[in-house]
Symmetry: C2
Subunit: 137 residues, 2 copies
DNA sequence: CTGTATTGTTTGATGAGTCAATAATTGACA
DNA sequence: TGTCAATTATTGACTCATCAAACAATACAG
């Protein structure tokens, strides 16, 4: 297993990410990251940006910027925690929930992965990625 | 298989890409993309940017910019094809070959993936990604 | 040949992510 | 109380990717 083979594999991951993320956005109208962000926020109920950051393993700066955009679009409401003014509470709006439900309903739900892989293979892939990601610092 | 599950999977791919690419760069000193680019160019011998673009499935603009950087660092030489002035020939230099050989030798060769996954699993992952990527336009 | 299409590369604008620096708030404690 | 450290969010500077537009060189149709 030499470096060349590894770089080939890693480059395949990069390509997969690019394809898959752009097709997700094309088909749902949501960027993958912001979709995930909304879902996390929705599942958590009202929560701070820190919680989202930890769950998504994304940079602080990215969180702030995405949430600003989501706020402008009316998908989330943000307000400082009155008891700890460092924290910012985030809550998804009814509008967001509607739009999410809408794009879930569309049978456009991501074709790319489903077309390429069987349920069994998707499950396998997910397991491998989880293993890989859990080894990252 | 609903959209939420899919987005989780896709987000895992994104995270894997980020982890893996940054650890590759940390450990080899080469950005994954530029490493791959040098390898492709090396394997092809003298070739045009178009060939690299097709092999790597990367945007034209990205190719130009990476190659400029590689040129500044003395890793490639570029010159116009005398017989077709639209084309740019690329050739990797001796310096590049040396530095590549050097970083291959280092037993630092990418730990992350190797630590996380067995050879068997890496093989599986590679197969799944290939399948996934071949379904992208 | 001469205009039109096509090809290969380059450039500019934009979006997403990082890290590092800063600000603001809180908590601990001498 | 006053200062020092830690926490949370924000901002700025940078990299890397994309798309679209521009460009120069070539090919080709009449």
């Amino acid at each position: 297993m030499d470096l060349r083979e590894i770089s080939r594999l890693l480059y395949q991951i990069k390509l997969a990410d690019q394809h898959v993320a752009s097709s997700f956005e094309r088909e749902t109208g949501f960027s993958l990251t912001r979709y995930e962000m909304l879902q996390v926020a929705k599942e958590r109920g009202v929560c701070t940006q820190r919680v989202i950051k930890e769950e998504m393993k994304i940079d602080n700066a990215a969180i702030t910027r995405h949430l600003k955009i989501l706020e402008e679009k009316g998908y989330v409401v943000r307000e400082r925690n009155a008891e700890n003014h460092r924290e910012m509470f985030v809550r998804v709006t009814e509008k967001a929930e509607q739009d999410l439900r809408y794009c879930e309903r569309g049978e456009r739900a991501n074709h790319l992965v489903l077309k390429a892989l069987s349920d069994e293979e998707i499950h396998q892939l997910s397991g491998l990625l989880q293993k890989l990601n859990s080894h990252a610092l």
